[in-house]
Amino acid sequence: MEKKSLFNIEGFRTVTASLISILIGLLAGIIVIVVVGLSNNSIANSNIWDAVRLVVFGVFNKGRDAATGALQFGFNPSFFGNMLFRAMPLILTGLSVAIAYKTGLFNIGAPGQYLAGITASLFLALSIPTSVIPAWLVWIIAFLGGMLAGALWGCIPGLLKSLLNINEVIACIMTNWLAANLVTWLFDGSNLKNMLEGTKSGYIYKTSTIINDIIIDGVRTISGTNIPEGAEVLATRGGVATSKMGLDRLFTGSQVNAGIIIAILLAVILYIIMEKTTLGYQLKACGSNRHAAKYAGIQEKRNIVLSMALAGAMAGAAGSLYGLSGNTEFFWTTYQSLPAVGFTGIAVALLAVSNPLGVIFSGLFMSLLNINGQQLTNLTAYNEYITDVIIAVIVYLSAFSLIIKMWLSKRKKKRKANPQAPALAVNHGSAKEVKK
């Protein structure tokens, strides 16, 4: 019996192809760093070597030694924790793009769905009075509300595509900008702008802020936790942040919270839906061959809308968890730019070949690169955009991952003679001796 080569397993080839893309991407980044460093006189050679090491191992660095100025490496809990914190929205937006891609749709509308999610969550978290409903219930309502808002916003391009045949890329881009403007409009007219801290009215409150609605001298106003004398408290709201669940003691000094656990759980749930349920099978069938799926009786239109709704829910969850983190402030005049995490989600999904479990790892990897880039800006003359270059090269290479996979399988085939040949020769009645 033919020994089953590792290279013959489809999954192994896919992972190897992704790893090769990552290696080549890192190499490309290193080459750019070295070339720019050598051609620019103001960057010392030691700086170049530092930058090369930081781009790969930045999350493990512990800063510069005060005496020698050399970089030290080791386990840095705060960076590691921050990496987990930043991976949370990346994994979820990656899931969003991945589900849509499996159904044959390109969800470039993740930024808009992210904005819908964060808006709904912030409105719910900061408006429902915690004196009436306990804080943990408000959190759940806000989180589910964010997912629902994202799902509804994701339905719009889905409906436009299934009912009116509008190209989903265009519909998603339009809804992105519509979301950006709508969110600014909604927050402009709301009372959630940060009035408690001096210069921060451009931001919404952090969800960990406790806001008291008070009446003082017959005038309704708000205050923080220091309630002024003679004021009567009407309601308390805010103070609704994701619990840390002890992760902050494991990774001291970082911003990590339980959101990363929720993100990984959602990825696993989505994997189960896509691989083990009928719904997932139907969605994947629509993605592989629309016409065959239709012939088999699968309702294409319903599946397009459902897929975009799921994708929107994931992106909405990303925004929701980010906003509910308690230490993040949302800059509400967002009509001029879209959140970058929505577009990085595309890179995450493509690197993971749209596999929900793979998205966990590629999300962590993108977050790692993000932290490495920050270290580059802090410690060297370079800047964090080199990590964006690396991510772009990796996405470019994943476009022809099929070629890399075929190349991988060809290498093994060339070295073995085909063991089926003798059997074929006998079947065809040929008396030729076949080399084994």
Binding site: I166, N167, A171, I173, M174, S337, D388, A399, F400, L402
Partner: protein, 343 residues
């Protein structure tokens, strides 16, 4: 009113040219989502080229000679360099899509991520900030066509046509309109254009007649890159005031929308670009818009929130797409890698 028309043209021209860039690529069979990236790259190279010319002293020499028409020649030179840069950048997409038969949407998205990353990386290192500006002056001082250049002094009042088309305009507007007409004629009335279009509809049939499909597709993508780079330079000069910050305000994607809106045909694309430009202009300046010159700011008095005006271009696009998408005629073979073996 003249201001309205001038501003509309300034918004509409980059959209028009970049949408035509998309048409050339898609009509030859390659989905080109990387228009945004090519624009960003073209804008950066254009500004770098201008900076080089400033440092060589050419601009100041023209200013000293008193005849500002010489600046227009340098503007055209900058645009040509941007076009060549965009063309070279588009080779990445061409190679991946044509030779390696990669997924063209992913390749386009990769280029869209690569362009701002490379541009911002280089801008940060050279300019120590996130924005690359001209080292002296800006596009209004160097490239804007003003009354004084025609020989009138500042107090002379132009009529309606003079005020709209001859004062405070850029040469890029008229050059791009001319280029648009020439490229459309090439696409529809020449043999080359017919062959290019056939490669996007049925490449196997074209191959059977002896057309080299791969070479046609390369040409299509490279023309697309050139026009998109040119559009980026025009954006940098007219809208971004000769600065490059790695961002073209989503114009590349809007141009994609205009292309699909215009059903991959030049005349509807021009109409769509003008419509879009008009609404963007209204959104930006509705408070001070005096439509018929009677001193009444009609739109400001309506009391509609400024946020709604900013959403208007996108809503209108979706509304028109809703009505026209049933008859949308994308090139039949676009997005499918060319396989000589199939029928």
């Amino acid at each position: 009113m003249p201001f309205l028309i001038r501003q509309t043209l300034i918004y509409a021209i980059p959209l028009m040219i970049v949408a035509l860039a998309g048409v050339f690529a898609e009509r030859s069979g390659i989905i080109n989502l990387a228009l945004e990236g090519m624009m960003i790259f073209g804008a950066y190279i254009g500004v770098v080229c201008m900076n080089v010319m400033v440092s060589l002293g050419w601009f100041n020499a023209v200013k000293a000679s008193g005849n500002m028409w010489g600046m227009q020649g340098y503007l055209l030179l900058g645009m040509a360099v941007s076009a060549i840069a965009g063309s070279i950048f588009s080779l990445l997409l061409a190679f991946a899509a044509i030779n390696l038969k990669a997924d063209q949407t992913i390749g386009g998205t990769a280029l869209n991520m690569l362009a701002p990353a490379i541009v911002l990386f280089l801008v940060r290192i050279t300019a120590k900030q996130n924005n690359l500006l001209l080292s002296s002056g800006d596009s209004a001082t160097w490239f804007m066509i003003k009354k004084s250049m025609w020989g009138f002094d500042k107090s002379y009042k132009f009529g309606f046509f003079g005020e709209t088309f001859l004062n405070k305009v850029y040469l890029t507007t008229y050059f791009c309109i001319l280029l648009f007409i020439i490229m459309s004629v090439i696409l529809y009335k020449t043999r080359f254009g017919l062959r290019l279009r056939s490669c996007g509809e049925n490449p196997q049939a074209s191959a059977s007649l002896g057309i080299n499909v791969l070479r046609m597709r390369y040409t299509g993508v490279m023309i697309s890159g050139a026009l998109a780079g040119l559009g980026g330079c025009v954006f940098a000069v007219t809208t971004a005031n000769c600065s490059a910050n790695g961002d073209v305000a989503g114009f590349g994607f809007l141009a994609l929308a205009v292309m699909i809106f215009g059903n991959w045909k030049p005349l509807p694309i021009a109409g769509g670009a003008l419509l879009f430009g008009l609404f963007k202009c209204i959104a930006a300046s509705y408070n001070t818009l005096d439509i018929n010159g009677d001193g009444i700011y009609a739109l400001a008095n309506l009391g509609i929130s400024s946020h709604f005006y900013r959403m208007l271009p996108y809503l209108i696009t979706l509304a028109v797409l809703a009505f026209t998408s049933k008859s949308s005629r994308a090139p039949k073979a676009e997005g499918i890698p060319y396989d000589p073996g199939t029928r």
